[in-house]
């Protein structure tokens, strides 16, 4: 692995290095904790907050079980029950599962990949605060009795302002979108960090399997969340401003919501499952005392799973009345998902069979996972069979199924992981006296609750009924399910007590209690804020190392960057695939900016919620301004050239290379953005093809002159961005070009606003006008954000943060304006084509 290792008395070089690095990387005490940007701290906060929401969601689940334990129960009325079950699902999926995965990713990924932190620590912190504030808004609504009440998938028109007046649905749309946007920022960060910030030598095919799982998961998030974010925005616009996208009386279609929702919702199931499988694929080899079998097969399987999972969303919609050829396609697709899943299951079984498994508490939970996941997978295959789904859909059979696959298959691996990595978090090993009975309570309670629900569903109990009369034959099943729920809750209570006991009474240990084989154990535990005192060179697959020996040499500073320089938080950037080191990444220090920016964002959301639209706009501008401001001290104030990084190597700082993390972050952000745009195009065409009440009474007549003027302005802006880059790289003054780009962008925005004002049919009257306005609005918004890029360029030019060698800012602007021009071309093209499209509708039945 590393330099030869002699018997090391833990000498003073290691201690001195620790003190120097800790001084640079530490987060201050007291209020300065609000300024924390360190991945270990933010990761722990994510996990702790997610756990708190798990408790809230769990209590809500128990309330439903109390209500349903007996027929005609008077414990809750229908309205309360509707809020409780909606929030149970929404909290556990949006405020527990996804953030817990992000927390694990943030805490663990850099350590497993041999980096000192994630690529954008301030963005991590911003994502956390957005999650906390968004979750607080949702929970606050529950306490105030105005929580969302239309079910966690918010089907329209039930969730429209006609059938759900009041702010209940707005709380969901705004709160969840707030949290989703934070999830999206983190997804981009995870992708970039995994691709660019591994230990030197860790080529992609040497990456520990956990890295592959997180990479695929984060890429899935990048393309899965945008359809839901778009749908939520459109529905909120429909509710707040009356533009019909989903309203069937005005040319919208409620099924469009279902398509967009499940286009997110189905991959979401795998976004939750894959990280769990990643944890299992990391733990099982260690528990089996051998390396993972089928590394390559698993990598292929999870990539296949990711692709297939985006093609089968319609299996949530088998009963909406779609063509039977489509049913056949989606049924077969849904069954095929079983293949990559089976590959993983048998790779794990093979690893256990070829190893010498240890039987301990993590392994007990691995058993719990195998049982519940295989069970839920099998009922999933059943539900993929269309005729059976016609009976089982929307019954407790489905409730049982998804609690097995996203409840059990998440809870058991999570608890296994918690027991496995707890020593890393706390520096203490476990005593298992309470752990075993706690497991059995959870396991038995879980299966009692949800196993019986399959039968309840087959006996005809639909989801989301708040009560039943008692003659249906459901009574005893419901009572037993409720009893099971309470056993499970007691089990979870015991798990919490057990964990607290571990914190208090666990035996102190300095490093690697498992004889593990991945890098997160190659450091003293609990980890210091800088994680690695020096960064290892990886010469083999990075799940085959001996972290115990490596840790001592790294602590002495024998790897890369084993020193403190300029008070910088330094880590290494590598070539994406080969793992060759190529840059020194200098990370930002703790700052209150993420906290402040998230507060401003939350204020915008709240203002929107209470319909203070001008205030909302103002707060959105403040948020944008804070983002521009936070860009001002990013990077470095002068050119440095290659800097020594240790082991005889010198590398340029990230500000002076082509493939710096921000460049890749913008690319993946644009991938997400393009997915959102594609969803909008899909929505427009979908409504045109299949919505009722088409064609509209008034035929659209887009203004050709204005449209071409706007398009020309966007093209000129893109050209001007090229000019500014050329001038900047040549040492000239790009300000003139930037000014030109800004002026034409303003002109484009003015033209687009005029176009929106003239949209026929009037956007509030028909979905055709509404989608045309949305397409135009999308382009205007991007032109507006382009102005922010240009403003930031001007400010940073003035402060000397841009030089001929540091042109990243100008390249980012160019990329953004190119994207704006291209999407503008497509959006304007579709708007211009709408009259022809509408004319074709004559033949439609």
């Amino acid at each position: 692995m590393n330099a030869p290792i002699e018997q090391p008395p833990q000498g003073s070089p290691a201690l001195r290095l620790h003190r120097q690095l800790a001084a640079i990387w530490a987060t201050g005490p007291g209020w300065q904790r609000l300024a924390a940007v360190n991945h270990s701290i933010i990761g722990l906060r994510f996990m702790a907050t997610a756990f708190a929401f798990f408790a809230i969601g769990g209590v809500l689940g128990m309330l439903t079980r109390v209500q349903l334990a007996t027929p005609k129960a008077a414990f809750m009325d229908a309205e309360t029950y509707n809020q409780v079950f909606t929030m149970h699902g929404s909290i556990l999926l949006f405020l527990f599962a996804i953030p817990m995965i992000e927390g694990i990713a943030v805490y663990l990924t850099p350590k497993i990949l041999g980096a000192r932190d994630f690529a954008f620590p301030r963005l991590t912190a911003y994502g956390y605060w957005c999650y906390l504030f968004g979750g607080t808004i949702l929970t606050g609504a529950l306490i105030a009795g105005v929580a969302p009440n239309s079910g966690w998938f918010m089907y329209t028109p039930l969730s429209s302002n006609v059938y759900t007046p009041g702010i209940n649905a707005d709380v969901w749309l705004l709160g969840v979108t707030f949290v989703e946007i934070s999830a999206l920022t983190l997804a981009v960060e995870i992708v970039v960090s995994i691709l660019k910030m591994r230990a030197p030598g860790m080529s992609l095919d040497r990456m520990p399997i956990f890295g592959w799982y997180m990479l695929v998961t984060a890429l899935m998030m990048v393309v899965a969340f945008p359809p839901l974010i778009l749908a939520s925005i459109l529905l909120e616009i429909e509710r707040a401003f009356g533009l019909p996208f989903f309203d069937p009386t005005r040319g919208g279609d409620s099924l469009l919501w279902q398509h967009l929702f499940w286009l997110f919702g189905h991959p979401d199931v795998y976004i939750i499952f894959l990280p769990m499988a990643g944890l299992l694929s990391t733990m099982i080899p260690v528990l089996a005392n051998r390396t993972l079998i089928g590394y390559r097969a698993i990598v292929v399987a999870i990539i296949a799973l990711a692709f297939v999972s985006f093609g089968i969303w319609v299996h949530h919609m088998f009963t909406v009345g779609i063509p039977h050829l489509a049913l056949a396609f989606f049924s077969a697709g849904s069954a095929i998902v079983a293949v990559p899943t089976a590959v993983q299951i048998f790779a794990w079984l093979a690893t256990l069979a070829h190893g010498r498994p240890r039987w301990n508490v993590p392994m007990l939970y691995v058993f719990g996972f195998f049982f519940t996941f295989v069970f839920g997978g099998l009922t999933g295959v059943m539900l993929a069979i269309v005729p059976f789904d016609w009976q089982a859909h929307d019954t407790y059979f489905v409730v049982a199924h998804f609690h097995y696959v996203v409840g059990g298959a998440a809870a058991f691996p999570l608890l296994a992981a918690l027991y496995y990595w707890l020593p890393l978090l706390t520096g203490r090993t476990a005593v298992y006296r309470l752990s075993v009975p706690a497991f059995w309570l959870v396991f038995i309670g879980f299966n009692l609750t949800f196993f019986l629900m399959h039968l309840t569903g087959l006996l005809g109990m639909p989801r989301r009924v708040y009560t039943y009369s008692g003659h249906e034959g459901w009574t005893w099943l419901n009572l037993l399910s409720s009893v099971g729920g309470f056993i499970m809750t007691i089990g979870f209570g015991l798990v919490v007590i057990d964990l607290l006991a571990q914190l208090r009474y666990g035996r102190r240990v300095r490093r690697d209690p498992w004889r593990a084989a991945t890098l997160e154990w190659a450091m003293p535990i609990p980890p210091a804020p800088y994680a690695f005192a020096s960064i290892p060179e990886v010469e083999t697959r990075a799940d085959r190392i001996a972290p115990g020996e490596l840790a001592r040499s790294l602590a002495r500073g024998e790897g890369y960057l084993g020193f403190a320089r300029n008070g910088w938080q330094e880590t290494l950037g590598i070539h994406m695939t080969s793992g060759t080191p190529e840059q020194v990444i200098v990370l930002p220090r703790p700052t209150y900016l993420p906290f402040g920016t998230a507060l401003a964002t939350a204020a915008a959301v709240l203002a929107m919620l209470f319909q203070f639209y001008l205030l909302a706009l103002a707060m959105a501008l403040v948020t944008a301004g804070l983002f521009v401001w936070s860009g001002q001290n990013a990077g470095l104030a002068r050119d440095y050239g290659p800097l020594p990084v240790g082991r005889g190597l010198s590398l340029p700082p990230h500000t002076e290379v082509a493939g710096a993390p921000p460049w890749w972050a913008l690319i993946f952000t644009l991938v997400a953005d393009a997915t959102l745009f594609t969803s909008l195009l899909f929505g427009t065409l979908y409504l045109w093809i299949s919505a009722p009440k088409w064609p509209p009474a008034a035929a659209p007549e887009p203004d050709l002159l204005l449209t071409f003027a706007a398009l020309a302005a966007l093209a000129v802006a893109a050209v001007a961005a090229r000019g500014s880059l050329r001038a900047g790289a040549a040492g000239g003054a790009p300000q003139g070009w930037i000014g030109l780009a800004a002026v034409v962008l303003l002109a484009a925005i003015a033209a687009i606003v005029a176009l929106i004002g003239g949209v026929v049919p009037y956007p509030r009257e028909h979905a055709l006008g509404a989608t045309a306005a949305a397409l135009l609005g999308y382009v205007a918004l991007h032109a507006g954000i382009g102005l922010l890029f240009l403003l930031s360029n001007l400010l940073r030019l003035a402060s000397g943060r841009i030089s001929p060698r540091r042109t990243l800012d100008l390249r980012l602007s160019r990329l953004w304006l190119d994207y704006t021009a291209v999407t503008g071309l497509v959006a304007f093209g579709l708007v211009l084509a709408l009259p022809a499209l509408v004319a074709m509708l004559g033949a439609r039945p």
């Binding site: 089928g294 009963t319 909406v320 039977h324 590959v343």
Partner: protein, 233 residues
């Protein structure tokens, strides 16, 4: 597949003490060909799933309790047999069976059984009988026994789902759209239907009665002024 053998197995299984499967809304207590076909599908899948679950959990138990038990099988073979072989054996026949069974249940063009229009609105069901002078019933659906009927569902407000579990699968009632579900009851009697898609406060109570009359008698029965649920016109 020999249908009568399967059905006999189902009846045996039912007789063998699965009395817990009966109920006014039970899909496992079929009273029409569609529900019967799906119930058969379920029992077949249940047996298959039980075998597979036992297999995987059994293997897990063996590799843990008998270390070295599976090490004679090479790693590649583990993944090929379990990951590809097992699904290859199970999935294609199952999907094909499901698709063929499903195809039979769809209201395909060609045959044109009598139609009944069912209209859903929060939180009640109204049925109209165009072949019978457009008479209507509320909260009650009258059906003739032994003949297929196409139920044409529409909604005035939000999405509902029309479902008579003992007769067959459900169909969503989507505002702005017209969906068709073919149902058939084997024998005269009383059945129950309900809304399966969450539609707001009254969702739990949005049920309806299904009264199945002998086919020869159907017109006369629903023409009676005191036919259940009849709407005065």
């Amino acid at each position: 597949m020999d249908h009568s053998v399967l059905r006999a197995t189902v009846y045996l299984a039912t007789a063998a003490g699965l009395t817990g499967c009966t109920g006014p809304l039970s899909t496992l207590d079929p009273a029409g060909p569609a529900a019967a076909s799906i119930a058969t599908l379920w029992w077949v899948m249940l047996v298959g799933a039980a075998v597979l679950l036992a297999l995987v959990v059994g293997i897990f138990a063996l590799v843990l309790l008998r270390p070295g038990w599976g090490s004679s099988v090479s790693p590649q073979r583990w993944i090929l047999l379990g990951g590809l072989g097992l699904p290859a054996i199970v999935l294609p026949p199952l999907v094909a069976y499901g698709l063929i069974a499903g195809e039979r249940l769809l209201p395909l063009p060609g045959s044109t059984p009598p139609r009944i229009e069912v209209h859903a609105e929060r939180w009640r069901w109204t049925a109209r009988y165009p072949d019978h002078g457009g008479m209507a019933t509320e909260g009650v659906l009258h059906l003739p026994a032994g003949t297929p009927v196409d139920i044409v569902v529409t909604s005035r407000d939000v999405i509902h789902s029309f479902w008579i579990p003992r007769l067959g699968g459900k169909i969503d009632v989507v505002p702005g759209r017209v969906n068709v579900l073919r149902v058939q009851a084997d024998a005269p009697g009383h059945y129950q239907g309900q809304c399966a898609e969450f539609c707001g406060h009254g969702h739990s109570g949005m049920r309806f009665d299904v009264v199945v009359h002998p086919a020869v008698d159907f017109s006369a029965q629903i023409a009676k002024p005191d036919a259940a649920g009849k709407v005065k016109q």
